[in-house]
Symmetry: C2
Subunit: 69 residues, 2 copies
């Protein structure tokens, strides 16, 4: 199992959290997506490491931005 | 035609706007619902005046609060 945590900007409410979870959850191999609205942290878990570019695309598809650490 | 404008608190994003529009739009006789996210103003239009209590219930159903003027 592999987890990575990203910072996402622009989420303001539970609907935003739902949109990010839904889009990131569609990535092949992703088994869980946890979002902390207060901090903007999104933790992506898969059986194998998930490519950051795919996470970035999914977050943007949902309408938000992955913040580069 | 009759329009009334209410203040709604708690809307933070376009998803919130969509939820309010959807719930208020279900009220019998409502022909249009306009929401200004920046100001929280919700304008409800119908052929006849729409009861404020129904608007209040719909806004609460969507998860927000009608602010008493």
């Amino acid at each position: 199992m592999s987890s990575a945590t990203y910072s996402v900007s622009g989420m303001t409410c539970g609907h935003c959290v739902g949109s990010v979870k839904s889009e990131v959850g569609k990535i092949a191999g992703v088994t869980a997506v946890d979002v902390d609205l207060a901090t903007g942290k999104v933790t992506v878990t898969g059986n194998e490491p998930v490519e950051e570019a795919l996470v970035r695309d999914a977050v943007e598809e949902a309408g938000y931005e992955l913040v580069t650490a």
